[in-house]
Symmetry: D2
């Protein structure tokens, strides 16, 4: 019974079906009929004109965006626990040619606007210190918290005041949207986001994420950078097809709802052990080593997350019986 | 009737089937059961111990290899018409941090060992001139010629003499193997190749290529560089599954045989118009603008390739009737 | 009797004196009184508002300019024999993060506007091929030819038409100005130059060159890049002092006049052996190996420059007697 | 009366004299007679065979060393207050192609071996997290503390255990040597240092630092990287001459002794206000805003260093009367 990662879950059957359907000769790269529909589909979803680029991984989406928002000699604010800082092997430094990640603290891997302002204030405005060019936040956060649109807007105001580009790592964007009930538009460009890494792989996709540009004047540059990073697939239609399948009839929302609901069921059984509020599909529990061992002995798979803490992640296809069993086991600890 | 690119062809049904079969929960990234079989499968094929890494594009395979074989301050010899020079948006400069491509001429996009030696000899051995660190060849070449193992060995000898890493871009490796009848081992590590970009996408695959390391001590570095470039897919099993499907029962060779045979059928009808010998699945024909227009009016799709020349490419799934019709049309010009 | 390089000549006594005079406590980096005078001095010289940055080497001046004029994913046109291509250890690729040098031919290391246009025309306007962002020329050229302002303007028109930044490597700018009689303004910004590497080191300076920006909006970026490349000297006043000493009373022009005159004296004695017209302070002579050996046996130092050719370079402090002796020796060959 | 930076002080008269003496034709770059003496001079000083490279700035020395000790995909441990992190405009990320600085805390900008071990232990050994390749310490530290050889050795042991290269930023190496009485050999290679940025500019030099390699197999690479970064001066003899002048008769030690003594005189008058022990030539004092204003009104120049703290720096040429006056003023606060 696996609760270790949404990353490793199966893709939704409609995604596999879409790949099969897209498997016929078409123009190579992103000149095909499927890829051509992306801009329109995302523009409709976000209620504004956007440019949408499929890529194969979240790291690629994040770092292409950051490279376009931050010159090589600039800095990017992010949380100390951000995926781009902790889990991408230094990819931001690679894609952005040595640009510097500037780390902020904050509970639950969320950034506070006041902390951001203060950090900017501590940087001398001279050539000796790296000047910030961009801000990146993760929504839902690495600890399963969802920024509300108003919170994003407050950060966006600071970013705008200081001329920072604003990126959202939305590896679990769907979970955040479902959790907060905010509209995709309110959560992004209306609150100042320039570029969104819109995650599908953790939410029923196979290997397609989408980089959505609200700052559309970056589109030409992103297209070149994507190719230059080896991310322009010649049969890109199979990436577009996955994304379109998940957008259709709101499948992406259904999947996220299922994952979030499973997380809520677990949270309900463990309210006194929660390290963070459960707002998306991740649950962080305080347990003893013995308790963790006990759960594992019962067949539950999950990661340790520092001393005395474990992480449970639920997926779009999480088995309901497994969730019930785990909820009971936690309650019985 | 399309003869413009093997790049855009459909994937083989067994590849799609393999993707569907691999679509269940497993360990993420390359820890899954499919990915774990790659080293063994390629070691068997190449009759030596190798390390094999799936990646999503040929550009990624090429440039990860080059970055490992050439320090940022070094140079990489390649042909002036090499894909890495002409069609990868400067990706070698990106992945290898500003390393320099050093261009050689030679008919049919093949490199002559004497020309390579001469070029090395012209470089002053001082800090002012970039020193070469690596050599990259394409087999089959960008003009559809296949290096024989002995030719590769002659280049390998020069490379070894000067301490150059040796990379083969095998986007059409299958076509070269079928064309020459050489063994994969003879064509690669036995003649000095350190790293091979083994192409599957143009030969029935969907979006999986394989970087095969004969210089296995580079494996740890490649693993890190792959992640850092955003090329470590979380559901990598779907990439491994494609590759394994094509290796099984020699499907990769069957596919290449079909493509090469179609090319030979066209070449036979156009022997007096061939710009280069046809040894793989590409045919370059001298035609007038009027003749090209005539062929297009008959429904044949292909690219112009410089003035007075067109390129025809055949794929693993090329329709036999289309080939016959084009052969007749060319013969009738 | 040395004719091998102006690079290795002594500095002018006034330069040494200026260093000594600047040697007292002042604000560090470029906040000192000497550095503060550079913008004004060069703005007066060029008859327009410019920004001027001292750096320690010509390579630094060139590559800082190129990094500001060319994004990492772009290309820079230059001559195949340009210093940035041949003699800077790949520094453009380093400073500009993998940007590509795009090589042009042309007699005497000069670029022809028609050739430039044709080269631009051959590049497909897609994401697969590197798109040009900048053009760099060397004046006087690596073979001692001086572009006239009209020639620069013709190149500038092509650059402007295609949105290319335009850089001039003026390691021997003084020699070109003296040779052509053009004004500094006509030779640069009036004909489209955005940034000039204004050379002093080969012309009586010790270790100070000046990067002059006509496109002044790049100044902030250049200031940061200079620091980031380790080129912001804490006692930068000693660099500024050298430059100011050479600008004062036209010393830079006097020095170049002396070097050019020495070159003319040699050229006059060797008119039937000249590989290129002598327009600055370099002379390329066709000689046999025996003749070269004979000259060396008489005590003359110079470089071989390919088979059957030698290079002679004259400096601001070239001994007149040495020049006469060499002229006679050449005439007597 | 200036106490704001040793960076901005005058050069020692013997340094200026040496520059003048070296000002005659010689071989260019580092082929001259002065540069040729460096390896020997530093090998004698360090009692082992070293390779020594002049460069124009401490940033260049530091970052060339780090680029050679850390691959682009690796990390470099340093203190959060290290010059390379705080004051070099991201130069390590530029020179080392996106390598990551990994920050450690510790009083007085010194790193504790236990903290280092713990930080290494927290990094997962997988491809998702940047793996450390190097360690850099500053001696004397940014807060004027001097590591003892035994402390360096303890760090060196950790570095060796984990395969980390070990770099010392010795911008104030002379002050540390004088302060501790350790031998240069004990302070560096005998305790595990691979590369030392040996500072001269803050200690009587003008614009020459020396990168000393104990790991001599990096010499060829450093030579190339220096050129590629635009740091190979054509009249490098003037840099070598400065260094040799300071090494001669221990002038570098005399200068540091003078600066340290001045610092001690100030420290003696302010013992109850010291934020850190005074072990080199920097004094950090706790003062109120009013007290700082009072000192400035009396003509003393210095920097504020965070709220309620000022930094005083003494130089080799600090006026004794000024020191006495400042000591009295502080005592009278």
């Amino acid at each position: 019974m696996r609760f270790f990662s949404d990353n490793a879950a199966a893709a939704h059957p409609k995604v596999i079906e879409a790949i099969a359907q897209s498997n016929r000769l078409d123009t190579a790269y992103d000149g095909d009929a499927w890829s051509a529909r992306l801009d329109g589909a995302f523009s409709a979803l976000f209620e504004t004109e956007v440019r949408a680029f499929w890529v194969a991984t979240g790291t690629a989406a994040n770092c292409l965006a950051l490279a376009a928002l931050c010159r090589p000699f600039g800095g990017i604010f992010c949380h100390r626990d951000a995926h781009i800082e902790v889990d991408e092997a230094g990819a931001p430094g690679f894609f952005a040619h040595g640009a510097k990640l500037m780390l902020l603290d904050g509970p639950g891997a969320k950034i506070d606007p006041g902390d951001l302002s203060a950090a900017i204030g501590r940087i001398r405005k001279d050539v000796h210190q790296v000047q910030p060019h961009a801000l990146s936040i993760t929504n839902a956060s690495e600890y399963g918290l969802a920024y509300r649109a108003a919170e994003v807007a407050a950060l966006g105001a600071v970013a705008r005041e200081h001329g920072l580009g604003f990126h959202m790592d939305g590896a679990r964007f769907a979970n955040a949207i479902v959790s907060t009930g905010e509209s995709p538009a309110d959560m992004t460009w209306r609150t100042g986001i320039d570029a969104l890494s819109f995650g599908f792989i953790k939410n029923g996709g196979l290997n397609a994420e989408c980089l959505v540009l609200f700052k559309t004047e970056l589109a030409d540059e992103i297209a070149v950078r994507r190719k230059r990073a080896g991310h322009l697939s010649s049969k890109g239609r199979m990436l577009a097809a996955q994304i379109l399948a998940l957008l259709e009839d709101g499948l992406w929302l259904d999947n996220a709802r299922a994952a979030n609901a499973a997380a809520q069921a677990l949270a309900g059984a463990a309210s006194d052990r929660l390290a963070y509020p459960v707002e998306a599909n991740e649950i962080f529990l305080r347990v003893t080593d013995g308790e963790a061992a006990g759960l594992r002995a019962m067949g539950f798979d999950f990661y340790d997350w520092g001393p005395g803490q474990i992480r449970l992640v639920t997926s779009w296809d999480q088995d309901g019986g497994d969730v019930d069993r785990l909820a009971q086991a936690i309650a019985a600890l």
